[in-house]
């Protein structure tokens, strides 16, 4: 085929012309050439060496098929011998190291970089039309096919139809019928950046033998290494760690967005902190996804960041602020700063010639005076004085001394040549100058020992010679010489410790320190009282305005309820006494001796006036209909004055005096009823005690939780400094109302992460019966069993709180404990001489109630042990006494502490009759 057009191609042979601008595909207008032009070299797919297997993608996107770029080999190698040979590209994540074949031709690397940055589509088109191009062009077309293929992979949305030769393995994604419409945008979420666009073409001018060697791929190309060196400064010696540097694709022209190839270098762009890819505001969301590790391309997630960008971590750009809502920006920035992949890799930091491990880095970063802006590199560290500097340089600052990081300091650490040593390090001239200005005697090349406070002594001598930084004006001198001075907080001894404990806990540690305690108990076990006590005990503001308002409403509606019960009782008593009177009236007929004083009007002591009667009827009616809660607000307004009248009415008072006969009335009712008038006023403000007595925590009585930490009281201080750390520990008490949570406890699965369970049982329940006639204690036992054996709480610590001991003590004297069939073998030995024998007990004279408590505790411990084979902790409690609750919760804290230290203890102690419970009972 005669050539219609010819293409001039820049002379590649001319290696000196590095900066020459290349022009491609200029139309040939000269006369027809007499010689034949070679055709484009066809590709034989079979003979292509297999591309390396792409290493496992950290983001397990299964739908992400990585397009593998086939390396290109011409069948006729001689033809190509003087041409550009393309190096096949591999994934930058590949760990296979390829040797670099021709390293001298760096300019060709540059060239191919340039090549690929051209609009390859155009070029390919040109070349496709042009079969009879020159030999060079042939090679060129190969390279362009190659790059167009790459291009295709990157943005198949754009050039999908243009190239038929490209093999794109993720066709599946494209052809989805319904997602397809969005897919063209979508698929760019996963740009195949694993295919590096950087082609290190090697111009192969040497020999055929050289070419016949298999194609090689380099992974760490020259440019990227250069870049790294620049980033870290030339004076820094790189740690001997093979660094994985991810390279972005550079497809479009310089300064354009890496994804849409639009814009120039002045358009605002966001930079990937791993691979340096830049995206315009339209593409950022697509390319970076939901940013679980901050500003990284989706494909870079999980990779360590570019250390040069460490400084910008967590610093939000304006673009992000525009794109996201505030909260999200904060979340992303937090993730960027704190996520594991973005942390400084410890092995990049060498201290005194030793790369650090994780613990050492943590020590270094968490010490009171950490090195500022720690970057990868080699450092020296004088452990005695705390001097810190880059290897081969003068000290840059003074950090906390005595940190156990890195190796021991070398004499030549700072490359000093003064023959004067400080703590075994030969100091630099600048330091010597400083010493001279500080008035330190430096004649005779002395060796000094310098402590962290600046006190120094000569080697082999006992006496302190003085303080280096003690002299006035030394700060100024050091500032002039740009040498560090010890910061104020590095004072020795106790002050240091204080500054440590005073530091605020970092965000990411916070969650670990929160210990969760689950508080459960069946209805009426007093778990809500414990919860409220904890709030009052440990919170500065126990109840917020809203909560108080809610509790106020709860209390008021409860009091209406109690009143209703009273009124109901009144009606009953009235009827009873009326019946009594009628009976007497009947008997009067037969027995005329009884005077007819009070018959006729049918009034008894329990009768009330008409107005009150109306109110009473209304209240009872609403109570029956179950709408009391919804209307009592209006009722408070309307009926508040009536309440006073009602309460003072003799009939109500008479009924109230017989309140023991009203089973419905809870024992706590009298506390409120005595003050009913006050409570039901509009401006009633519940006191803490009122709140404590109120039933329930929240209006809907759902889950409630409170975060608290135990305040440092006087008695805590003498425990010692080791426990000071505990004041940082925060606890979360989660209280769940058992009712309405179902018997099979599906919800328990949500509490996997709690530290322990406090199970609450009311001791006074032993003679109480539920609506269907079962003993409440047995119900509690059943609930206890189901919770203890729940798979979620396997190996969980349980603390049983036996609540309402005050009521129990009174009750057990009158009602025998054997009322509950579970306790039928309770036969306390109450004999006179017991008091004498039992002298080692804490309480010398155990009351009946205490005996009964211990008996019940043992019952539960045995039950627990038979179910789980472990030991149950038991505590006695009087819910209304703050001290008692405080003691119980501190006991819970101790259990959590023991749990951590359990490994140190032998598990041999197995006494059911342990007395740790009783030690907390008072």
């Amino acid at each position: 085929m005669p050539p219609e057009e010819a293409v001039t191609f820049p002379s590649l042979e001319n290696e000196d012309e590095e900066e020459q601008p290349y022009s491609f595909a200029v139309e040939y207008t000269g006369p027809p050439v007499p010689y034949d032009l070679p055709r484009a070299v066809p590709i034989n797919v079979e003979k292509i060496p297999v591309a390396t297997v792409v290493s496992k993608v950290p983001l397990s996107n299964t739908e992400l098929h990585i397009p593998v770029v086939p390396p290109i080999l011409a069948p006729d190698r001689n033809k190509l011998s003087k041409e550009l040979l393309l190096q096949p590209t591999v994934s930058p994540t590949s760990v296979i190291a390829f040797e670099e074949r021709v390293s001298e031709d760096t300019n060709n690397c540059l060239l191919s970089g340039e090549l690929s940055s051209y609009e390859s589509g155009e070029l390919a088109e040109l070349i496709n039309n042009n079969d009879n191009s020159s030999r060079r062009l042939g090679a060129c077309s190969v390279s362009n096919e190659h790059s167009s293929m790459l291009d295709y992979c990157d943005s198949f949305g754009k050039s999908r139809e243009s190239s038929s030769r490209a093999r794109v393995s993720n066709d599946d994604d494209l052809n989805q019928p319904d997602w397809g419409s969005n897919e063209s945008v979508l698929s760019l979420d996963y740009p195949s950046s694993r295919v590096s666009s950087r082609k290190t073409g090697d111009c192969n001018n040497e020999s055929n033998a050289d070419i016949k060697r298999p194609q090689v791929v380099t992974f760490r190309d020259i440019e990227s290494d250069d870049g790294l060196d620049e980033e870290f400064g030339q004076d820094e010696v790189q740690p001997q760690v093979a660094r994985v540097k991810r390279e972005p694709q550079t497809k479009g022209k310089k300064g354009s967005c890496y994804r849409c190839f639009k814009g120039n270098r002045f358009t605002e762009k966001e930079v990937c902190i791993v691979c340096d890819a830049k995206y315009c505001s339209n593409c950022v969301l697509g390319a970076m996804g939901s940013m679980p590790e901050g500003r990284k391309c989706v494909t870079c997630i999980g990779f360590p960041i570019d250390e040069a960008k460490r400084g910008s971590l967590g610093k939000c750009s304006r673009m992000l602020k525009r794109l996201f809502i505030d909260l999200e920006v904060r979340q992303i920035m937090k993730a960027e700063k704190l996520c594991e992949a973005n942390q400084l890799p410890p092995e990049y930091i060498c201290v005194n010639g030793q790369p650090l491990c994780h613990e050492e880095l943590a020590i270094l970063q968490s010490c009171p005076i950490p090195p500022k802006k720690l970057k990868p590199g080699n450092y020296w560290y004088d452990k005695v004085s705390g001097l810190w500097g880059k290897e081969g340089q003068k000290p840059s600052m003074i950090i906390s001394p005595h940190l156990n990081v890195g190796g021991s300091i070398r004499p030549d650490a700072s490359s000093g040549n003064t023959q004067i040593f400080i703590n075994g390090r030969e100091i630099t001239k600048v330091e010597l100058r400083m010493l001279q200005l500080a008035g330190v005697q430096v004649a005779g090349n002395p060796h000094f020992w310098v402590n962290e406070d600046g006190s120094y002594q000569e080697e082999g001598q006992k006496n302190m010679k003085g303080y280096i930084w003690g002299k006035a004006g030394m700060k100024l001198v050091c500032a002039v010489l740009s040498l560090p001075v010890p910061s104020k907080s590095s004072n020795p001894g106790g002050e240091l410790l204080n500054s440590m404990s005073g530091r605020s806990v970092p965000d990411y540690l916070e969650q670990r320190i929160l210990q969760k305690i689950l508080l459960v108990g069946s209805t009426g076990s007093g778990s809500s009282t414990i919860f409220k006590q904890a709030k009052i005990l440990y919170k500065d503001v126990p109840f917020s305005e809203d909560e108080r308002e809610n509790i106020k409403l709860t209390i008021q509606s409860n009091v209406y309820g109690y009143l209703g019960i009273l009124l109901e009782g009144r009606e009953r008593f009235e009827e009873e006494s009326l019946a009594e009177m009628r009976k007497r009236a009947c008997s009067k007929d037969t027995d005329p001796e009884v005077g007819s004083i009070d018959d006729g009007d049918g009034k008894t002591i329990y009768s009330i006036g008409l107005r009150l009667k109306e109110f009473s009827d209304w209240l009872l009616k609403t109570m029956v209909s179950g709408h009391l809660e919804t209307i009592f607000l209006a009722a408070t307004r309307e009926y508040a004055p009536l309440i006073e009248e009602l309460w003072k009415d003799a009939a109500i008072q008479a009924t109230y005096n017989r309140r023991s006969e009203l089973e419905m009335l809870p024992s706590v009712a009298s506390y409120y009823l005595e003050r009913a008038v006050e409570i039901l006023k509009m401006d009633y403000e519940p006191s803490d005690l009122d709140i404590l007595y109120a039933e329930g925590v929240t209006s809907s009585n759902g889950l409630a939780c409170v975060d608290f930490s135990f305040p440092q009281s006087l008695c805590d201080e003498n425990i010692g400094t080791a426990d000071q750390h505990d004041s940082l520990l925060r606890y979360q008490l989660i209280r769940v109302q058992a009712r309405g949570l179902g018997e099979n406890c599906k919800w328990l699965e949500m509490f996997e992460d709690i530290g322990m369970v406090i199970f609450c049982v009311a001791l006074s329940d032993y003679d109480q019966f539920s609506a269907d006639g079962t003993n409440k204690m047995l119900l509690s036992r059943k609930f206890f069993e189901s919770i203890v054996t729940h798979p979620t709480f396997d190996q969980m610590d349980f603390l049983l709180i036996l609540n309402k001991f005050d009521q129990f003590e009174e009750k057990v004297e009158q009602v025998p404990l054997t009322r509950c069939e579970w306790f039928d073998d309770f036969h306390p030995l109450i004999s006179r001489h017991r008091t004498n024998t039992n002298s080692n007990s804490i309480n010398n004279n155990p009351t009946h109630g205490q005996l009964a408590f211990h008996y019940i505790a043992v019952k539960f411990k045995r039950l627990y042990s038979s179910l789980t084979g472990r030991k149950l902790y038991v505590s006695l409690l009087k819910g209304l006494e703050p001290k008692s609750v405080d003691a119980a919760l501190k006991f819970a804290r101790e259990i959590l502490k023991w749990d951590e230290e359990r490994a140190n203890f032998s598990l041999s102690e197995h006494s059911f009759y342990s007395t740790e419970a009783s030690s907390f009972s008072h």
Partner: protein, 377 residues
Amino acid sequence: MSVPELKERHAAATETVNNLRERLRQRRNELLDTDVAGYARSQGRSPVTFGPTDLVCCRILQGHTGKVYSLDWTPERNRIVSASQDGRLIVWNALTSQKTHAIKLPCAWVMTCAFSPTGQSVACGGLDSMCSIFNLNSLTDRDGNLPVSKTLSGHKGYVSCCQYVPNEDIHIITSSGDQTCVLWDITTGLRTSIFGGEFQSGHTADVLSVSINASDSRTFVSGSCDATARLWDTRAASRAVRTFHGHEGDVNTVKFFPDGNRFGTGSDDGTCRLFDIRTGHQLQVYHQQHGDNEVPHVTSIAFSISGRLLFAGYSNGNCYVWDTLLAKVVLNLGSPQNSHEGRISCLGLSADGSALCTGSWDTNLKIWAFGGNRRVI
């Protein structure tokens, strides 16, 4: 009448009810001469076939730090709200896997969430016994939290499930651990009607799930720990229209069939069942034989747009795709290479049926789409 006498009567009545129920079951079995699978086989139908690339995971939504408990799609198909034990609701754009909202909840123990039909607000409920509504358009407060725009309180137990009444943004149905379901009016925050409860014939244990009939939004079904599912009419709250027995464990999930005449259930007994609401018959049991004794619970189900496929998530991390006609598992999305690492707690199909989203205790959500040239069925 004395208490023992009453107890005796009660026992006798219970006995009678149980006898009648047993007779009813027998009678049903007599009448029910075939099930769906048997009939389909006799008609020569063959199961749907699935290639390895027909349903592929195309997005992973990462961002939660706790177990994901619930998810819901918007009707306009590309947004998802998910609720997790880290105490957050996250609203995702399913196409870009972008988070559009992250809502910190006042109570971290959330069990359910729902998108309103217009996509303007989301609802959630949990152990706090309340259903909280968040308007996505409202401004965040100083701490960057979205304020609760409405709290629906009145349940006496945890809120286990909530669903907006289709085409209305002001009504929502919740199910609760207090054995009731409630229809709420969101504008007033009051209960419109209560289904079940103390004095009514309702569930006798925690209600775990509700599903509203898409073709007739006045009826809905509920599944409960009492191993039954009940059909309700919102106009007559006093009693259930029908009670569906059959399961031998807690009914964890119910979902209406796309045609509105059937519904599916998933239970702790490891089976999914298909019931017909007109006849009350159980049409089909979907049960996979397991060698060991440990039967994985069905945690969540969803039907494909045609109803031909039933997606079921199991507590062991499996997610089976059942052919509803032939009762055969045609695909397991939990196969090792792309499975979730924890139990699949929730799943949902987008409104157009083109994508499935699964949420798991491994804190991730995954979106699966029909790949290749496969038609959406």
